[in-house]
């Protein structure tokens, strides 16, 4: 049962140290799923980048392609049925899609790690948490089982699990939801990766625990100066920790902005709809806004702007032409750095 594979002799990424661009850059990424009913286009030309120490929040409804993009970055898409017909995923300037499976495996967990949503089902139920944490050190650093357990206890201390030493030989089901998510975080942090992708890390938790977990994540990110991609549909979570936001809809990024700008002045009707559907204390007693309609079927995305059937501003042009993601400017034409919108009527939306 103890097949331990030592991959300690992994070199630093080729040309990694002198690379100056962003830590991770996703360029024109497309992902499709070939199903019996046809081809579902889950991701249609996504571009984004993350720097070291930066937090990018990817926002969107279920089925908007935010998780699929993350899985494509991690290389854990099920292929088939998944397929990446075009695009690049540059990690320190190197296209990971062109790497061999073995090269990618060595990046996974060690350079790029992922935190999953439901920690109970994402941790192996029949292995102790100490074993699952220690596995990172045993496989990637060739450590002995004993040393790995010591490291596992250190990690559990790091993520503030009380009585770590006593609990290292417990199983995932013996922990509370918040503690389990801390273990997931510890596992992702184990080898101090350059980038962490957190796929809805707090969705399964109650609100107070959510805040604790997010604080912990932000704190550790600072400490290790990691890049963080935070995938969520919870706008409340994003505001505190993110530096910039990418809003996704039907496999495309519809708006990109620094976090506070987006909250102040959304430049896409979809973002505006999302913001208006947050319950607010000062609007107590009033009806809560909801974006009407349902997210589109990815087998049959509407022509033109995918959001047009649900958009209050939709016009004829929206039904025929796909809006490009264009830079957003002030009314006087002054630059708004980092802001982009994919709406034919972005001017009216942001300034109107």
């Amino acid at each position: 049962m103890s097949i331990i594979d030592k991959t300690a002799a992994v070199p630093a990424p080729r040309g990694g140290s002198d690379h100056t661009g962003p830590l991770l850059e996703v360029k024109n990424l497309h992902v499709e799923f070939h199903t019996r009913d046809g081809v579902a286009k889950a991701v249609n030309g996504v571009n984004y980048s993350v720097d070291a120490g930066e937090t990018l929040a990817v926002l969107g409804e279920s089925g908007s392609g935010k998780s699929v993009t993350a899985q494509a970055i991690m290389g854990i898409l099920d292929m088939p049925p998944g397929k990446i017909p075009q695009g690049e995923i540059l990690f320190r300037g190197q296209d990971m899609l062109k790497m061999s499976e073995e090269e990618r495996r060595k990046i996974r967990g060690r350079k790029i790690a992922m935190i999953f949503q439901d920690a109970l089902s994402s941790l192996n139920p029949v292995l102790t948490v100490g074993y699952q944490l220690g596995e990172m050190f045993r496989v990637h650093h060739g450590m002995s089982k004993k040393d790995a357990t010591v490291k596992a206890v250190e990690l559990m201390d790091k993520v503030k699990i009380p009585a770590a030493k006593a609990r290292v030989s417990d199983y995932p089901h013996q922990f509370s939801g918040g503690m389990r998510q801390r273990i997931m975080i510890a596992m992702a942090l184990a080898l101090e990766p350059d980038l962490i992708i957190a796929d809805e890390p707090t969705t399964a938790l109650d609100v107070t625990v959510q805040a604790q977990v997010m604080d912990l994540l932000a704190e550790l990110q600072q400490e290790y100066n990691m890049g963080l991609i935070l995938i969520t549909h919870d706008l409340g979570v994003v505001a505190d920790v993110a530096d910039k936001i990418a809003v996704m809809y039907a496999g495309r990024i519809v708006e990109q902005a620094p976090v506070h700008e987006l909250y102040k002045r959304p430049a896409h009707p979809y973002t505006r709809g999302l913001l208006e559907s947050i319950p607010r204390l000062d609007q107590k007693g009033q009806e809560l806004y909801a974006i009407k309609g349902l997210p589109p079927n990815l087998l049959k995305v509407p022509t033109g702007c995918a959001f047009n059937p649900r958009c209050p501003k939709a016009d004829d042009i929206c039904r025929t032409e796909i809006p490009a993601l264009v830079p957003v400017t002030e009314q006087n034409g002054a630059d708004l750095p980092g802001r982009k919108s994919a709406c034919h009527f972005w001017k009216e939306t942001i300034h109107g």
Binding site: D5, M114, N124, L127, V139
Partner: protein, 310 residues
């Protein structure tokens, strides 16, 4: 844990009495007379028959017979004697059991290695050619009755090809047991393969498998440790009950290959209406079965930590 084991052991007591009573009743409900059978076609005068019956205690009411029988069994560990040649049942079983054990171990090894092996191949290639071939193969084995399979193997390998002797000798060596073991283990092999396959294919899609890949573990570790540990849980349960069944001997297989194991002795006792032999044999087998199933249940908790016995 200790309390659980104690409770399980106590539960064996009613099961023990229930099974013995049931078997005893069934044997006595069968038509035929063991004393009459002893004398064969020649027959004997009624006085001799009555004397023999009295000697064996067969003239008493049946409930008394049962009580006497149970008394001897519990107080003196006397499981009865064979009527025909007066040998104690424990001695008869002592001769037959090692042979059955040999056959059972071999059959179990075959179903373990090939069943799980085929299951892994099918599970990892679910829906593809190899999986479908294994599906057809296992379906075929499941649908052929064991006596047909036994005769086919005997015909082909013993009579047509002459690779094996048609009958197993009285002091069997392991190589002679191979063909009967394949026949005996075949059905369970197919079940084990299908169970393993389904369990693997299902767990492959589990969230923790995605996590294991995302941790950068090599494929053979993802499969060998993370997938296998989870997928083997239902298979072990099946294998456990199967060990118990195999220990009980295989009436049909042993008959086809003329093996003098437990199954053979049972078949013989039934045809001779030897109630006490039969009850004694089956009682011992019931105990073996109960103990193995307890051991398997305990092993189950080792495999799946979510199960806790209290």
């Amino acid at each position: 844990m200790g309390r659980y084991v104690a409770r399980r052991l106590l539960q064996m007591i009613p099961v023990f009495f229930g099974t013995t009573l049931l078997i005893f009743a069934m044997v006595h409900l069968l038509p035929g007379d063991p004393v009459l059978a002893m004398f064969g076609d020649k027959g004997a005068d009624p006085a001799t028959l009555a004397a023999k019956r009295h000697e064996l205690g067969l003239d008493k009411p049946e409930w008394q017979q049962y009580l006497f029988y149970m008394r001897d069994m519990i107080l003196h560990l006397d499981f009865g004697t064979q009527i025909r040649n007066g040998r104690p049942v424990t001695e008869v079983l002592g001769d037959a059991f090692p042979i059955t054990l040999q056959l059972a171990v071999l059959a179990f090894a075959i179903e373990l290695v090939f069943g799980i092996g085929l299951g892994i191949i099918g599970g990892l290639r679910a829906g593809r050619l190899a999986d479908n071939l294994i599906l057809i193969f296992t379906l075929l084995i499941i649908s052929i009755p064991v006596f047909v399979l036994g005769y086919i193997i005997k015909m082909v390998f013993a009579f047509n090809l002459g690779w094996i002797a048609p009958n197993v000798s009285t002091e069997p060596v392991l190589s002679e047991m191979l063909a009967p073991a394949i026949v005996l283990g075949g059905l369970s092999l197919a079940y084990v393969a299908r169970l393993t396959r389904t369990s693997m294919a299902e767990n492959l899609r589990a969230d923790y498998m995605r996590t294991a890949v995302a941790k950068g573990l090599p494929r053979r570790r993802v499969i060998g440790v993370h997938l296998m540990r989870n997928s083997m849980i239902p298979v072990v349960t099946f294998l456990g009950t199967d060990i118990g069944a195999l220990m009980g001997g295989a009436v049909v297989t042993e008959f086809i290959f003329n093996i003098h194991g437990v199954g053979g002795v049972i078949a013989e006792s039934i045809s001779r209406r030897e109630g006490s032999t039969l009850v004694g044999l089956v009682t011992i087998l019931v105990i073996v079965y109960l103990v193995t199933s307890l051991l398997i249940d305990l092993l189950y908790a080792v495999l799946d930590p979510r199960i806790r016995y209290a």
